[in-house]
């Protein structure tokens, strides 16, 4: 055998080998004969995962030709994965979308429009027109809202009773809230484990949004400019200054770090926490108690709460999907199907689909009942007077900077309010302006 021949053969083997490796990487999405595999992914905890898995099983039974491959991750990791998917053109066929990222993804043409499928595979007639329009970008429908949620103060009545205290009334103010935190922290000092009132609410980005709305400020303009100043942020953060060092009334950052991925509230060491109302399912599951109750945010300076409904989350299709019709069918099932609704309940918000909401059999005393009644009462009391703040491109990134990066350093007193504010504004410049 000549050397030349050996060389050529060697090269051939090398090329064949590398081709084989490439083949491993390509997605063998579909087989022939009507068998289609869809990828569906979401953020959330175990509780949500088990609901989705059950609903997906039902979908597969109803549509024998379609298989659904599922995966999920925690919120921050979820977006890391999606941006990597986006770079390689491998976004899932169907995935959970958030308004804070919608314009970014839609603006780069990463989402497939629903316009060709609405009315065919996907029924959008059951969704309130205004809510549905929250899924539009550049005049095209690219995301379908799953439901609505609103901010709430979740509290643990059993723990509060154990400490011999009483939760404030619904018309409480920010000052009354802070006073109650101090009361709980004092009463919980001898409790085992030690119990605190709550985390520092000024480190929650969406409460800052709520605070701005209560001041009559629409945080962002449609072009992504800021309508609030450094002073606005400083004032909000300093409003809780008396509860920080040296008195340390808030749940300690050291402890939060150790409990991760749980938190003070879900570990039964803090009696309250602000969050979106649909998180009651996750929180109740993590806490191991059904007795988690909801109340509205504190009243603003003008005596009004100025609360708003937000599309909880949305479902989008990756522009790279090879099976748009089946994907749209899956979205329709997850949004509209009453059977799926019975499984999902209010975990994705109070259902957007009127048909599903009507069909939802609410067990008395259930978490679903609590969420729906909470939203109803907030509406009846006249709290829901504002609209959800506009979320420009980069909103998700500046939120992350606020709650993940700066709040983590602030909680350990490594930076002061001025540094916090100055660094946020400097980073916002990188994220908001294209």
């Amino acid at each position: 055998m000549s050397f030349k021949k050996t060389a050529l053969r060697g090269l051939a083997i090398a090329v064949a080998g590398s081709l084989a490796l490439t083949a491993c990487g390509s997605d063998g999405g579909s087989g022939d004969g009507g068998n289609v595999t869809l990828k569906f992914t979401w953020w959330g905890g175990d509780e949500r995962a088990s609901r989705y898995e059950q609903a997906i099983k039902l979908f597969e039974d109803e549509n024998p030709g379609i298989k659904v491959q599922t995966s999920f991750a925690a919120f921050p990791d979820y977006w890391t994965q999606r941006s990597t998917d986006a770079t390689s053109g491998e976004l899932p066929d169907v995935f959970q979308m958030d308004a804070s990222r919608l314009l970014e993804y839609a603006g780069s043409g990463l989402l497939l429009g629903f316009d060709d499928y609405a009315g065919n595979q996907l029924d959008t007639s059951q969704i309130d027109a205004e809510l549905l329009s929250s899924g539009e970008a550049n005049g095209e429908l690219v995301a379908i809202p799953t439901g609505t949620n609103t901010l709430t103060l979740m509290y643990n009545p059993d723990l509060i009773e154990e400490l011999g205290l009483e939760i404030p009334d619904w018309d409480y103010t920010w000052d009354e809230y802070f006073a109650f935190i101090s009361e709980v922290t004092a009463a919980g000092a001898d409790h085992s484990p030690r119990v605190y009132g709550a985390d520092d609410p000024t480190m929650v980005w969406w409460l800052f949004m709520q605070h701005l709305v209560q001041q009559g400020i629409e945080p962002f303009s449609e072009t992504g400019e800021l309508n609030f100043t450094e002073d606005d942020m400083r004032e909000f953060i300093d409003s809780a200054a008396s509860l920080r060092a040296p008195d340390d009334q808030f749940f300690p950052a050291e402890r939060t770090e150790q409990l991760d991925p749980l938190g003070g509230f879900t570990n039964g060491e803090a009696v309250m926490e602000f969050h979106w109302d649909n998180f009651i399912h996750n929180y109740s599951h993590d806490l191991g108690s059904d007795n988690v109750q909801l109340m509205p945010v504190p009243t603003g300076a003008d005596g009004q709460k100025h609360m708003f409904f937000k599309p909880t989350m949305q479902l989008s299709m990756g522009a790279n999907t090879k099976h748009p019709e089946e994907a749209a069918l899956l979205v329709d099932f997850l949004i509209n199907s009453p059977e799926a609704g019975a499984i999902i309940g209010t975990d994705l918000g109070v259902p957007a689909s009127a048909e599903r909401l009507d069909a939802l059999e609410i067990e008395p005393g259930s978490l679903d009942e609590r969420v729906i009644e909470y939203q109803q009462r907030a509406r009846d009391e006249g709290y829901m007077t504002a609209t959800v703040p506009f979320q420009p491109e980069g909103f998700g990134a500046v939120e992350t900077e606020y709650v993940e990066v700066l709040a983590a350093e602030f909680g350990f007193y490594r930076i002061d309010t001025d540094t916090f504010v100055q660094r946020w504004f400097s980073e916002a410049g990188n994220h908001l302006v294209r």
Binding site: L8, G10, L11, A14, S18, W79, T87, A253, Q258, T400
Partner: protein, 320 residues
């Protein structure tokens, strides 16, 4: 007939006959080509998976590349921005401290254990494997998780500390104690340098120690005058390798801090911050600039090691 015999006969008969008088091997070109062909799988991997991406990242470091949003050429902006970035400074500080403190401790531990294992005794092989085991599993995800649990409030370290009347508390939530915890995790994985030290120790001629014994040298003197100088090439090798390794620590910090680099940036290692910027925030241009800065700095440090090595590294047979 054995194969070797046939092969040797063939070479005896045919090759010399074809070989020209000047002794040059025939058809060198063909042989070279065959060499490259056999190299091809590796070369293909190197070009497509290492060299190509590196060149791409060099280009990206001068852009504000973002996987989703518009991007373009921005010159040296990424590099200048780095020095105004407080978290970047934090990450440089954490990583430097880790390298400067962790590497010498790890090497000292490796050398100490290697010297213990160098003496002949029963079960020597078992001990060697046992001490090497942490290096095999130490980089794994499960160890990082166990490490975190050990150093939590009421974790085993806290319990043992309390038994002895100390109050160590949880190290995981304490920004001042997380770095020592990470260094401990690194030191524990001293197996790889230990094995190399052990090989080096076996190379030291016994006559040197015998001569020293005759001259009445104590163990300390023997260590500093014989062992250390004779071991210096191995020490040099380990030092360079471990220093570079310590700049690249990622997985353990990622797991222990949940990818956040917390508490209060105390485990924000350089590579972790790079990952956060690049993949968490999509600022891949910025992350590429960070990566290249790391390459340059590690290169300079290695160069310094090599330049200073002539003053303290002694190679056998060298006359100075």
């Amino acid at each position: 007939m054995s194969l070797t015999h046939e092969a040797s006969r063939e070479s005896a008969n045919s090759t010399p006959a074809r070989r020209p008088r000047n002794g040059r091997p025939p058809r060198r070109g063909a042989e070279t080509r065959a060499g490259y062909a056999f190299l091809a799988p590796w070369l293909l991997g190197f070009i497509t998976l290492t060299a190509g991406p590196m060149i791409a990242s060099l280009y990206l470091s001068f852009t504000n590349f973002h996987p989703i949003r518009d991007w373009g050429w921005i010159g040296f902006d990424n590099f200048t921005r780095l020095f105004d970035d407080p978290r970047f400074m934090d990450s440089v500080q954490v990583t430097s401290l880790y390298a400067v403190v962790g590497t010498p401790i790890k090497l000292a531990a490796a050398l100490a254990v290697a010297m213990l294992l160098n003496n002949r005794r029963r079960g020597q092989g078992t001990y060697r494997s046992l001490f090497y085991a942490p290096s095999l599993i130490g980089a794994s995800v499960s160890i990082a998780i166990i490490w975190k649990a050990m150093f939590n409030d009421q974790g085993i370290v806290d319990e043992i500390g309390q038994f002895f009347g100390m109050k160590p508390g949880g190290w995981v939530g304490n920004p001042d104690m997380t770095l020592p915890m990470m260094i401990l995790l690194a030191v524990w994985q001293f197996g790889a340098p230990m094995v190399i030290f052990l090989a080096g120790l076996k190379q030291i001629p016994n006559e040197l120690y015998e001569a020293a014994d005759v001259d009445g040298a104590g163990p300390l003197r023997k260590f500093f005058r014989i062992t250390l100088p004779m071991l210096s090439p191995v020490l040099f090798f380990n030092l360079v390798l471990e220093t570079i390794n310590s700049f690249q620590v990622f997985a353990s910090a990622f797991i222990i801090s949940g990818g956040k680099g917390g508490p209060a940036n105390s485990t924000l290692f350089y590579t972790l911050y790079l990952y956060q910027r690049g993949f968490g925030q999509g600022q891949l241009g910025y992350a590429a600039a960070m990566a290249w800065l790391l390459v340059i700095v590690v290169g300079i440090i290695t160069l310094i090691f090599f330049k200073t090595s002539k003053y303290w590294v002694h190679y056998g047979g060298e006359t100075r």
